[in-house]
């Protein structure tokens, strides 16, 4: 979640949603995202909405956070009314959620369950830094209802981790996966980053091999994005580090696809691979398929029935709003039918299931994309636009053509 908030319309202090948003609520998948805006240190590449202890003001301490988040869960209940559907997925992200005691995360999860009811097979994930958990912590999460761990491994190479300001040792991520498995987590993800300055093709292969070796059922691989205003961007501008090259990133992506496929993983979204259908992250799929979710926490984004909104950014401002009984929403936008179509194309085309051809009204662009090898032929015959490997790397260009 990038820290810069988009522009939008004002939100009433009550946080009341427009009628259009509540229309059909319960007929769509519903989930919760819980943002935990704390980190021990800020990594040089990160522009997420997160704070180290020294950056936080009064009223926003780690100790108070769970209570504040629970308060927003209660407001969600009030805003969505009695028709609030059971919760199918919960995702704790950050920041570093595991900087909070496990009982705090469990307490927030319990509040969601109490207010909305968790579906029997709900997927409950938290992100974690490999160095921020131990077996006891993992056991407490598991018994508290968490079902999935997502570790920020990033790389297996020390020099790469150093450029990224990550403090775990290269072997720690694999160890954390084993600990999670031992604690009873069926689903474990490892996040990897490629094309970091100084990383070679072989470094990347080594990272992939180590991740596969650790035995997760899900891998996410992202090319490093140099966000404005980060320390990494400054170092590149000063010439201390080279700018990541897009052609290199393309090569790394091909390496990832080939090694992960070889190891039995299948891509189901441009940057995500799972070893089985059950290993796919249902929470993220909800984002990509137009589902509803409530985002709890400072700067968190929500979407319900075509209305998107986002909370105030700073933890102290967020806590103050809730203490005053006011919605923490900063602004919102009610999507037009055209906006929703654009979003659907933009998100669903990134999925292995692809997008229904019948709903694309640019026959020339579609035919060209097929001829250029951006779309798979077999799904095309069945009426679906599914990206080829080359098409995945050029997805944004194709989406631009499809919506222009």
């Amino acid at each position: 979640m990038p820290s810069t908030l988009p522009d939008g319309d004002p939100v009433p202090p009550s946080g009341e949603l427009p009628a259009s948003a509540l229309d059909g609520l319960g007929g769509r998948s519903f989930g919760f995202y819980v943002h935990v805006p704390f980190c021990v240190t800020r990594c040089g590449y990160c522009d997420f909405n997160t704070y180290t202890a020294s950056e936080l003001g009064p009223g926003a301490s780690h100790a108070d956070y769970a209570a504040t988040a629970v308060e927003e869960v209660r407001r969600a209940r009030a805003a969505l009314g009695a028709a609030g559907p059971p919760v199918e997925t919960v995702f704790f992200g950050g920041g570093t959620p595991t900087l909070l005691p496990a009982r705090d995360l469990v307490r927030i999860l319990r509040a969601i369950d109490e207010e909305f009811g968790l579906a029997p097979d709900a997927e409950v994930t938290t992100e974690a830094n490999p160095e921020s958990v131990d077996p006891a912590y993992l056991a407490e999460l598991r018994s508290g209802g968490f079902t999935r761990m997502s570790f920020g491994m990033q790389s297996a190479r020390e020099h790469v981790l150093r450029v990224l300001d990550r403090h775990h040792t290269p072997g720690r991520a694999a160890q954390a996966v084993r600990e999670a498995r031992d604690a009873g987590f069926e689903h474990v993800n490892l996040d990897l980053i490629y094309s970091t300055p100084g990383e070679s093709d072989d470094d990347w292969r080594a990272s992939l091999a180590a991740a596969i070796e650790a035995g997760p059922d899900h891998v996410s691989a992202y090319s490093l994005i140099v966000e404005e205003g980060t320390r990494l961007a400054a170092r590149i501008r000063r010439g201390e580090l080279p700018m990541p090259d897009d052609d290199v990133a393309a090569d790394r992506y091909l390496i990832a696809e080939s090694m992960l496929t070889e190891a039995g993983f299948h891509w189901y979204e441009v940057s995500n691979w799972a070893s089985a259908e059950a290993g796919r992250c249902r929470h993220n799929l909800l984002y990509w398929t137009g589902g509803d979710w409530w985002g709890v926490g400072p700067g968190a984004h929500s979407h319900v029935g075509g209305t998107r909104w986002w909370n105030v950014k700073h933890p102290a401002a967020y806590a103050q709003r809730l203490a005053a009984g006011v919605s923490p929403a900063h602004a919102r936008e009610v999507l037009t039918p055209e906006d929703r179509t654009v979003e659907r194309i933009m998100l669903e085309l990134r999925l292995a299931e692809g997008f229904p051809l019948a709903e694309l009204d640019r026959p020339a662009v579609v035919a060209r994309a097929l001829a250029d090898g951006l779309l798979e032929t077999e799904p095309f015959k069945r009426g679906r636009a599914v990206l080829t490997l080359r098409g995945r790397l050029l997805a944004d260009a194709l989406v631009r053509d499809l919506v222009s």
Binding site: T4, Y222, D246, S271, N284, M346, R350, L393
Partner: protein, 612 residues
């Protein structure tokens, strides 16, 4: 007591102009004259009073001349001074010559810190050929960097007088301006004409005014022009009713008694287009017509052509309308619709020269709020085919593909004034541009005048920038048409993915075709963003490829992350990119941003712009 127009004894009239380089202080000197003669009081004074158009004031270029009637008393005698302002740039030589024809004297105004510039020298020669009395004046003598002795010697050498005859003034402080006016009365001859003959008046300027229609500036040579009289334009044979006749002093003032021999003023007839009232034409009266026009009329001939295209294709009707309006005030501007495969619908426009071109373009953008792409300027070629057929080429993409026998190109006589340390640099540059040295003279100890004949096509291609950069800005340039010559010229096409981009075709000398091709292909490789496929860029003469570059295919165009908080941001970015795509021009399948066309077609600033 001021003398009224229409009854002025020619003996007390003095008609003069000021010849000066663009930033040598002509307008400031004119301002002082307006104040000192009392026609503008201190309260109404504003800087550069006579420069009416914004562009004139901002660029420091006087584009359209005007004539101001000033009263001046020497001893007990009241005189009438008509100050005729002249355009000061290379493209307007013909208009300058007509202004000079309306005068008996010329003030040669030179910056005492810079010395004479090439264009001033060219205009000085014109004035001397027209037998005008020359009054040499050094301006800006108040500047610390002024070198009055050095430049007085230079001027004396040029016009054949003594250095002590050179007057020294400061237009800024007013020092020496009264003496200068006295000197005009004493040395410029009074006009001579036959008051009893049929009227003959020279049109030396013609300006379109939104409210009044065309305002025609004239100098009466013989006879008398009255108000409410039918007048005849002798070159076209068109007759018009005079609605108003008057003088400018410096605001318009109706002359009830009309204008007599030697007088300078304006006419309004209600015509709406300056092409009906052409500079250089002779005005006579319908009732008693002159039989012979005054000599020297020439029809303006466009020398430089360029395609003008709206960046947004929807603006095409606005561009047409704007050109129509500009033409009302610019008899030298010609244009006709043309279509470019790459740039869409636009106009091929003909101009007197590069400055004229830039002024038109700037006015279109500024006054009509249009965003334009202009193709690289080119000259007019005469192509003779083997079967004897002749083709006039004003657009390189029209260069015939069949069997060409001969190609003729326009030639100029170019004069460069430069400190002598740069002689070598100038010679190298001019040689490289197919110039032929005609002669070289020292103007003073360390400044030379170098004369070349050179193809106009070489001058309009980035010559001026080269001249300035090789001489640290010290060189000045003037050129005038000097017939045409046969030359070994070829058309170089630029192809993207095998498809010729008409806007990039150029006609160049055979020896330079390779250099042009290589440079253009390199430039485009930098300017055109990578596409989803490889894009070869080729430069070719006919079917023969002379240079090649490749734009590698883009391999990655996808954001790695797109989660809940990224969606709004990404959709908004997409909307923005959608807008950007609209500004792309398609060459076959290749998307070329407007900026790439603009950058590839620009040769930077190509004319003598004032340094500010």
């Amino acid at each position: 007591m001021r003398i009224q127009p229409g009854q002025t004894d020619p003996a007390v009239i003095r008609n003069f102009c000021i010849i000066a380089h663009i930033d040598h202080g002509k307008s400031t000197l004119a301002d002082r004259m307006l104040q000192i003669t009392g026609v503008v009081d201190d309260r109404s004074m504003r800087a550069q009073y006579l420069d009416r158009m914004d562009i004139e004031r901002e660029r420091g270029i006087t584009i359209k001349s005007q004539a101001v009637r000033l009263p001046w008393k020497v001893g007990e005698t009241d005189y009438v001074l008509n100050m005729i302002d002249t355009p000061g740039h290379v493209d307007f030589t013909y208009e300058v010559s007509r202004s000079l024809q309306a005068c008996e004297g010329a003030i040669l105004l030179v910056d005492a810190a810079q010395g004479i510039e090439a264009q001033t020298l060219a205009n000085l020669y014109l004035a001397m050929n027209a037998d005008l009395t020359i009054i040499p004046v050094l301006n800006k003598i108040d500047l610390p960097a002024a070198q009055p002795e050095k430049y007085a010697a230079e001027l004396a050498h040029l016009i054949g007088c003594e250095p002590e005859d050179v007057l020294k003034v400061s237009g800024k402080t007013g020092v020496g301006v009264r003496e200068l006016l006295d000197h005009v009365v004493a040395s410029v001859p009074a006009p001579v004409g036959d008051a009893a003959a049929p009227a003959r008046a020279l049109i030396f300027d013609s300006v379109y005014d939104t409210y009044r229609g065309v305002i025609t500036y004239v100098r009466v040579m013989d006879g008398h022009l009255g108000k409410r009289e039918r007048i005849l334009m002798m070159s076209t044979g068109a007759a018009h009713e005079t609605l108003e006749i008057g003088v400018i002093s410096p605001e318009p003032k109706i002359a009830d008694k009309g204008l007599g021999v030697g007088e300078v003023g304006y006419l309004i007839t209600g015509v709406k287009d300056v092409r009906q009232s052409r500079v250089g034409d002779t005005v006579t009266s319908v009732s008693r017509s002159a039989t012979e026009p005054l000599g020297g009329y020439e029809h303006p001939k466009p020398m430089v052509f360029s395609g003008l295209y709206p960046i947004d294709g929807d603006d095409y009707p606005e561009l047409r309308e704007a050109l129509d309006k500009l033409q009302l005030n610019d008899a030298a501007l010609v244009y006709e619709p043309e279509t470019s495969a790459a740039l869409g619908f636009g106009f091929r426009c003909g101009f007197l020269g590069l400055l004229h071109m830039e002024i038109v373009r700037e006015r279109l953008e500024r006054e009509f709020n249009l965003s334009l792409i202009s193709t690289a300027p080119n000259v007019v070629y005469q192509v003779v085919m083997e079967d004897g057929k002749e083709v006039t080429v004003t657009n390189p993409s029209e260069f015939p593909t069949g069997k060409v026998d001969k190609v003729f190109e326009p030639v100029t006589k170019a004069t460069v004034l430069v400190p002598s340390e740069f002689i070598g640099a100038i010679m190298e540059l001019c040689q490289n541009r197919r110039g032929n040295l005609q002669g070289m003279d020292y103007l003073s100890e360390d400044r030379v005048e170098i004369r070349y004949t050179m193809p106009l096509g070489e001058i309009i291609f980035d010559f001026f920038d080269q001249l300035k950069s090789r001489t640290r800005g010290y060189a000045s340039l003037d050129y005038e048409p000097f017939g045409e010559q046969e030359a070994d010229l070829v058309k170089v096409d630029i192809l993207l993915q095998g498809e010729a981009v008409d806007a990039f075709s150029a006609i160049v000398h055979k020896d330079k075709a390779y250099g042009y091709g290589v440079e253009m292909a390199k430039k485009l490789r930098e300017l055109i963003p990578r596409q989803q496929f490889e894009v070869p860029i080729q430069a070719a003469i006919g079917a023969r490829v002379i240079a090649r570059e490749n734009i590698r295919a883009i391999r990655k165009d996808v954001l790695a992350k797109c989660y809940g908080g990224d969606i709004s941001r990404k959709r908004k970015l997409l909307e923005k990119q959608k807008e950007g795509k609209k500004r792309m021009k398609m060459v076959g399948r290749v998307e070329v941003p407007q900026e790439a066309f603009v950058a590839a077609l620009s040769t930077e600033s190509s004319t003598d712009k004032p340094k500010k």
